[in-house]
């Protein structure tokens, strides 16, 4: 061969098996961990093995930590499941943050205003209905505008987040205890009215079970139901959908109402089941993290269990690191950032192939 044989070149993959694509991601995570280890050593002088075992400890170190991790996993997974039908429809719903928060607000409103006035079990049901309705409304509004006036759903859903945030901030001041503190505290702390019942002595068990059921439901809904099929077709092309006799506007609205309602459900679980309070940061950006969860799992509900687990473990572990080694919380964010960079970057390798010329071999 002559002068400048290229060392490597890149071509688009025609197809890839799911095993291979998950393997690529696995390798990406391993590489990310190695890279994080090096960074940790260079910046802090700590033993990276210790750092990683601390991450693991932070997520699963004790029974309690494992339960909290499972609960956080359930909440993140729930939100991810909620936005997935919309995303499959290529309706870029980045308003999950607001849809969950408005569900939280509706639930808190019921618990505060009706606490002690109706039986607790009934109150739970009322709160649930209110949360579902509030979330559904937050999904319905951008959908109806999209369906009828072709508004940009990304901006619309994003702005709805701020409305929800401001409403929550306003009502926190209305309901704050004591006056002027900017805090609601635990709602119905003594009566526990409207609190989700505790199953088997584990506060989070019911939440986790509900989300597990929801995961199964969403998988079946998207894969086998007529609605799921319609969503796929609408996501592919509105014209194809019309051609097939699908009423595109109706599917958009219906799907977003479902998406919003599930967000509302998660909001209900957060307030009635977990935190028993309302703060503007209760959702804590998970409405946006969920986008990543859903995307990384290629909108597959079962895959989302793993992607959300990964993100939750990272977050929990990162918090643990920052306190155990007295590092600033930003250090934990750096590690999370590196790992996400690798995972998202690995998408390149699932879509493209890198060939090394000399060795005449394919390298993933």
């Amino acid at each position: 061969m002559n002068k400048k044989e290229p060392l490597l070149y890149i071509s688009k993959r025609e197809s890839i098996t799911w095993q291979k694509s998950w393997m690529i991601r696995g390798i990406a995570i391993l590489l990310a961990l190695v890279f994080c280890g090096i960074i940790t050593m260079l910046l802090t002088g700590l033993n990276p093995i210790e750092v990683f075992s601390t991450i693991f400890y932070g997520a699963f170190g004790t029974m309690r930590k494992s339960w909290v991790t499972a609960q956080k996993l359930a909440i993140l997974l729930g939100i991810s499941l909620a936005i997935t039908p919309a995303f499959k429809m290529r309706f870029w719903n980045i308003g999950a943050e607001g849809q969950v928060l408005i569900g939280c607000l509706a639930c808190a409103a019921c618990m505060i205003t009706l606490g002690g006035k109706v039986p607790s079990a009934l109150l739970v049901l009322i709160s649930l209905a209110a949360s579902l309705a509030a979330g559904a409304l937050w999904g319905f509004l951008p959908a109806i505008f999209k369906a009828h006036w072709e508004t940009n759903e990304t901006l619309f859903t994003l702005m709805m987040n701020y409305i929800a945030m401001q409403l929550a901030a306003y009502f926190i001041i209305v309901w704050e205890v004591p006056k002027g503190s900017g805090n609601i505290g635990i709602i119905n702390q003594n009566s526990q009215a409207g609190w989700l019942p505790v199953l088997g002595g584990q506060q989070y068990l019911l939440t986790i079970l509900l989300i597990a059921v929801l995961t199964g439901f969403m998988y079946v809904y998207l894969t086998y139901s007529k609605h799921g099929y319609e969503i796929s077709v609408v996501g592919e092309s509105h014209r194809t959908a019309s051609y097939a006799g699908i009423k595109v506007g109706r599917v958009i609205v219906r799907t977003m109402v479902l998406s919003g309602a599930i967000c509302g459900l998660v909001g209900f679980l957060l307030v009635s089941g977990n935190d028993h309070t309302l703060t503007t940061t209760l959702v804590d950006g998970r409405g946006f993290t969920a986008v990543m969860v859903s995307w990384l799992a290629k909108f597959n509900p079962i895959g989302m269990i793993f992607t959300s687990l990964l993100l939750v473990v990272l977050e929990r572990g990162a918090t643990e690191i920052s306190s155990v080694f007295s590092l600033n919380h930003s250090f934990a964010d750096i590690l999370t950032g590196i790992i996400l960079f690798f995972i998202i970057g690995s998408d390149f390798f699932t879509n493209y192939q890198v060939h090394f010329r000399k060795a005449k071999k394919e390298v993933e």
């Binding site: 699963f60 309690r64 909290v68 004591p178 002027g180 028993h276 309070t277 703060t279």
Partner: protein
């Protein structure tokens, strides 16, 4: 499948051992929960005290920063109890309900919550509140501010000062009123504008609030919020600032005068010693100047008016001697009238009932019926620019 499960479990245990293994120097362990981290002056003040107290007493400690006022506070407190902490401290008002939940769950662990209001009514043997008579510190800082203001008025500046508060509740109201009374003991004609940010830590909002007050003609600023927002704004505008929680001389060398702060070290020592000895603790503990809990940080003599130290010393001596009361009802009026009786909301209940008579012997008895402040009146001379929070 079983094999995999077993392997995972083994791994978990191995890692758990690794993580737990490191450096136990004593078998007595204490946990601290803070709302923010070292970047907040308020939390830094706690963190420093925690480290100092634990190192002095030679006990092991964990500090968890950035713990929100939500379920994560409960989980963290329980985590600490699980990890063998005998005492768990939390530093933010909003942590209280979650600390109470944790206290119910772990009756053998002491849960001590600073700035809270519910320990004396909740009836839990292992749940305690603490605060300090910081209104006295605020008053003294006010005296320093008054000296500076006197100088400024002589230079032709208006006798008006500004105050950046976080929320409109008693802790803040008590703080700015005592500060104002301190200033007025030097400059009788002073008035004060107060504005609120609705957050304990919001650098941008605090900066903006301080700028708003400066533009409104305030000659001197003080604040009760935890970022460097107000001091930074004052430094930029060249307006003197009386700080809180600790010295902000580093960020505002040309405008910082003095700062009052609660030194939590005495309280932490008190609690740790009491628990070590198995002694019973009060549900409510109020630190004072005498216990070393109320402190003034270094006086910036480059900015402060001459004679400031002397004026502070004099007022401090009178406070210690009991001849001076900050909330002396002869020194202020509410809606034009002297305050001869007031029922404060001391016991927390859902109706916010004001049930306890707190005015007697010619002064308002702050932080005596419980540690956390309950002075929540707006006295004449103070204007609230907004009350949204």
């Amino acid at each position: 499948m079983k094999k995999i499960l077993a392997m995972v479990l083994a791994l978990v245990m191995a890692l758990a051992l690794v993580a737990c293994g490191g450096g136990n120097k004593s078998d007595f362990k204490v946990g601290f929960i803070t709302l923010h981290d070292e970047n907040s002056t308020y939390d830094l003040n706690f963190i420093n005290a925690a480290k100092a107290a634990c190192e002095k007493l030679g006990v092991d400690y964990v500090i968890k920063t950035n713990i929100g006022e939500d379920q994560s506070c409960y989980e963290t407190a329980c985590d600490m109890a699980d990890a063998g902490c005998k005492v768990v401290f939390a530093d933010s008002f909003g942590h209280e309900p979650y600390m109470i939940e944790a206290a119910k769950k772990y009756p053998d662990v002491q849960f001590c919550h600073s700035t809270g209001t519910r320990a004396h009514t909740e009836g839990l043997a292992n749940y305690h509140n603490a605060f300090a008579s910081i209104y006295e510190g605020r008053y003294l800082a006010g005296v320093a501010a008054g000296m500076k203001l006197q100088q400024l008025v002589a230079e032709g500046k208006p006798a008006k000062i500004g105050y950046v508060g976080a929320f409109t509740y008693a802790e803040v109201v008590s703080g700015y009123t005592s500060f104002f009374l301190g200033v007025r003991s030097i400059v009788p004609e002073v008035t004060m504008d107060v504005t609120f940010t609705g957050s304990w830590y919001n650098e941008a909002a605090e900066k903006e609030a301080a700028n708003k007050l400066i533009q409104g003609g305030c000659s001197l600023i003080s604040q009760h919020a935890d970022s460097f927002g107000a001091p930074t704004a004052c430094e930029t505008a060249g307006v003197p600032d009386v700080s809180y929680n600790g010295s902000t001389k580093d960020v505002a060398p040309n405008t910082y005068i003095i700062s009052s702060r609660i030194n939590w070290e005495p309280y932490y020592e008190y609690v740790i010693k009491a628990v070590q000895k198995g002694e019973k603790m009060d549900p409510d503990w109020t630190g004072t100047i005498a216990t070393g809990s109320v402190e003034l940080t270094e006086l910036n003599t480059d900015v402060a008016a001459p004679g400031t130290q002397e004026a502070i010393d004099k007022a401090m001596a009178e406070l210690k001697a009991g001849t001076l009361h900050v909330f002396d009802t002869s020194k202020f009026t509410v809606e034009g009238k002297a305050l001869d009786s007031y029922k404060a909301d001391v016991d927390s209940d859902e109706a916010y009932e004001h049930e306890t008579e707190v005015v007697s012997d010619g002064y308002f008895h702050e932080s005596e019926f419980r540690s956390a402040p309950y002075f929540d009146l707006t006295i004449d001379g103070i204007t609230l620019l907004d009350t949204a929070f």
